[in-house]
């Protein structure tokens, strides 16, 4: 089947094309546009993310402005039901905050936490992975042992533990202020392992290749070698992991907030909103948790779909 693959990869003779044309003609773009599910998912994700990023501009109310929130409006149903009105299109929560605005800002928070956590995990994981793969020996064994032990515990537990420790170590006043950072750190520390393992594996493979040996012989400084030469070659799978982990990080943050150890109700993320709404589910005020729930589900699902496509597109075995 080698000849078939080779034939597919070859393009007919033409003058060297410009960058955009190359992207448009590439296999990646072809597989993207020919997968309607992925296109739809990407569109949904883009829409949600876009709306969230523009929250300050497009939200009808500011849910953090305590002055504008009135308890009289508490638990109003969505506009199309009895007792609702269009000032609060999706209803209000138990404190009178507009659900639509709360959802927009909440999504933004969830995204911020998710992206920050993944970025941190990526930096930490890639750094440690490069170190372990490059040095080998004791350093490698140590890092991998720690990784193994941590991997046998679910990330949620690790995040919970770190959060709990931070809670008891830090004085109460500081706690609420830095909840955000503790949360990001907790999630990042639970997910660095995937990055580290993959990068370590790739590093070990690349380390023995000739271009690295050549650079060594020339006398290139190790750090420069690792970052300049090795890193670009191991970064591919990292991007796939990062995308999929973004969805997981958002999910973890939502879960932690739901459990009460994440973002507080004063600055709620989607998970917090759902938690707040959970208490009202049984009494019939379903919109407080269901709408944020739907947005959360759509966001994670669409990111997952795009991540899935990305993984298949980069997988040489499925070409």
């Amino acid at each position: 089947m080698a000849e078939i693959a080779a034939a597919n990869a070859a393009s007919p003779a033409r003058p060297p094309p410009g960058r955009w044309w190359r992207i448009a003609d590439s296999d990646l773009w072809w597989s993207f546009t020919h997968s309607p599910v992925t296109v739809a998912a990407a569109a949904i994700a883009a829409a949600i993310i876009g709306a969230a990023l523009l929250a300050s501009f497009i939200a009808p109310h500011d849910p953090y402005d305590l002055a504008s929130v009135s308890l009289l409006d508490a638990t109003d149903p969505p506009a199309w039901l009895d007792g609702g009105n269009w000032t609060y299109p999706l209803g209000t929560d138990n404190q009178g905050r507009d659900m639509l605005s709360a959802i927009l800002y909440g999504t933004r928070l969830s995204l911020v936490v998710g992206c920050a956590a993944v970025t941190l995990a990526l930096l930490l994981g890639v750094g440690l992975g490069l170190l372990a793969g490059w040095r080998g020996g004791f350093v490698d064994a140590l890092i991998m042992r720690v990784a193994d032990v941590q991997l046998s515990f679910p990330a949620i537990l690790v995040a919970l533990l770190i959060d709990g420790i931070a809670r008891s170590v830090l004085p109460r006043q500081v706690q609420t202020q830095i909840t955000l950072y503790v949360l990001i750190a907790a999630i990042a520390l639970s997910y660095w392992v995937h990055f580290a393992r993959t990068v370590r594996g790739s590093t070990m493979v690349e380390r023995d290749k000739e271009y690295i040996q050549a650079a060594r012989v020339i006398g290139v400084h190790p750090v420069r070698m690792v970052i300049g030469h090795l890193l670009p070659n191991v970064i591919g799978p990292v991007l796939v992991i990062a995308t999929i982990n973004l969805a997981t990080a958002i999910l973890t943050e939502a879960t932690l907030s739901f459990l009460g150890v994440g973002l507080p109700p004063t600055e709620p993320s989607l998970g917090t909103l759902i938690r707040v709404g959970n208490d009202f589910l049984l009494s019939g005020d379903w919109w407080i948790s269901i709408f944020p729930g739907i947005v959360l589900a759509l966001l994670i699902l669409s990111i997952n779909l795009v991540g899935d496509w990305l993984r298949d597109a980069f997988n040489p075995k499925l070409r």
């Binding site: 032990v149 046998s152 515990f153 679910p154 949620i156 537990l157 919970l160 533990l161 959060d163 709990g164 420790i165 809670r167 008891s168 170590v169 969805a247 999910l251 939502a254 879960t255 739901f258 459990l259 009460g260 150890v261 998970g271 759902i274 959970n278 589910l281 049984l282 019939g284 379903w286 948790s289 269901i290 729930g293 959360l296 589900a297 994670i300 699902l301 997952n304 779909l305 899935d308």
Partner: protein, 328 residues
């Protein structure tokens, strides 16, 4: 074989010690145990006396050894929040979690494996595509959301099933079981489904991926070239080769069900170890947190060990026979 078992046992003990160490560090260095135990009026002198009495001024190693000794006997001190022995609290909550986890694991396996096999064999049928779509949702939706949606649908709208609690339980010795009563069963269904869903989709995708991979191998190709029936190929060869690596991963996954119970128990107010842990985290109840850590670590280690031994039994390549790699 014996060497293998001993090696794994030693590893397990080491991991347990590591976990114990973390728990111990939690116990003694996070926050001040004394301040957490006494009221604000207690004098400094009394605190110092208490510290001495509890042996908190002793050598680090001595304290750790004492901790391990107590832990092995199930003594984790008193809960800050409830002022009761942590060991007792755990014993109370454990049956609830174990029953739930066991049922969820069973569900995940019984539904996930056949679904995985089906979607692996019939890759392009619309039934498979539908199952895969559902599985993607299962992986993407946070567990708590699934729980909430289920509660909304079955409890609030349909009023078929209860939305929280264990229902009526029966006491057998120190164990409490909800499986002997109708209400108990009605109460455990939704939480079990919620807890199992994530694992179920993981198992299904894993079995499917493994099955597809196996069906592409040379030995399957050769089996086809020998004219073996589809039945023999799919359920004789492919299935066995698929399940062997799946066993390990699945076993480890099932261990994590116990930890994921934390979320499900919170959603359904299920009175198990998970809910206990969450409440402890919120309250910074260190002894309970530490004890939970050790318990979960112990369960994980036991499961990992069992899975390793199982793998050894199932895969002949691990049972090396030196005699036979001879001849040309």
């Amino acid at each position: 074989m014996l060497a293998f078992v001993i090696q794994r046992l030693v590893q397990s003990v080491l991991v347990m010690l590591a976990v114990g160490f973390i728990a111990f560090a939690l116990f003694n260095f996070v926050g001040d145990p004394i301040s957490n135990m006494v009221g604000q009026d207690t004098t400094m002198a009394d605190r110092a006396a208490l510290r001495e009495e509890l042996g908190l001024n002793d050598n680090f190693v001595v304290q750790f050894a004492r901790f391990v000794g107590r832990a092995v006997r199930g003594d984790f001190g008193l809960s800050y929040q409830q002022a009761r022995p942590v060991g007792t609290i755990i014993l109370e909550k454990m049956p609830a979690t174990l029953e739930l986890s066991f049922l969820a694991a069973l569900l995940a396996l019984v539904v996930g494996v056949p679904m995985g096999i089906y979607t692996g064999l019939h890759r392009h049928s619309w039934v498979s595509q539908a199952m895969l779509a559902v599985s993607l949702v299962g992986v993407s939706l946070p567990t708590f959301l699934i729980g909430i949606f289920l509660i909304l649908f079955f409890a609030v709208i349909l009023h078929w099933l209860p939305s929280f609690g264990r229902g009526t339980v029966v006491h057998i010795g120190w164990w409490t079981t909800g499986l002997l009563t109708v209400e108990g069963w009605r109460a455990i269904i939704l939480p079990a489904i919620t807890l199992s869903l994530f694992q179920l989709t993981l198992i299904m995708r894993l079995v499917r991926a493994e099955m597809i991979e196996v069906l592409r191998t040379d030995y399957i190709k050769f089996a086809r070239a020998r004219g073996l029936t589809n039945r023999a190929i799919n359920f004789g060869h492919a299935l066995k080769n698929t399940l062997v690596p799946v066993i390990t991963i699945t076993g480890l996954q099932l261990g994590s069900i116990i930890a994921f119970a934390v979320i499900t128990e919170t959603v359904f107010q299920w009175p198990g170890m998970g809910l206990m842990f969450i409440q402890a985290v919120g309250f910074a109840d260190i002894p309970v947190m530490a004890a939970y850590l050790v318990m979960v670590g112990f369960l994980f280690v036991v499961i990992n060990l069992s899975v390793d031994l199982l793998y050894y039994v199932v895969d002949p390549r691990l049972r090396v026979d030196r005699e036979a790699v001879a001849g040309g």
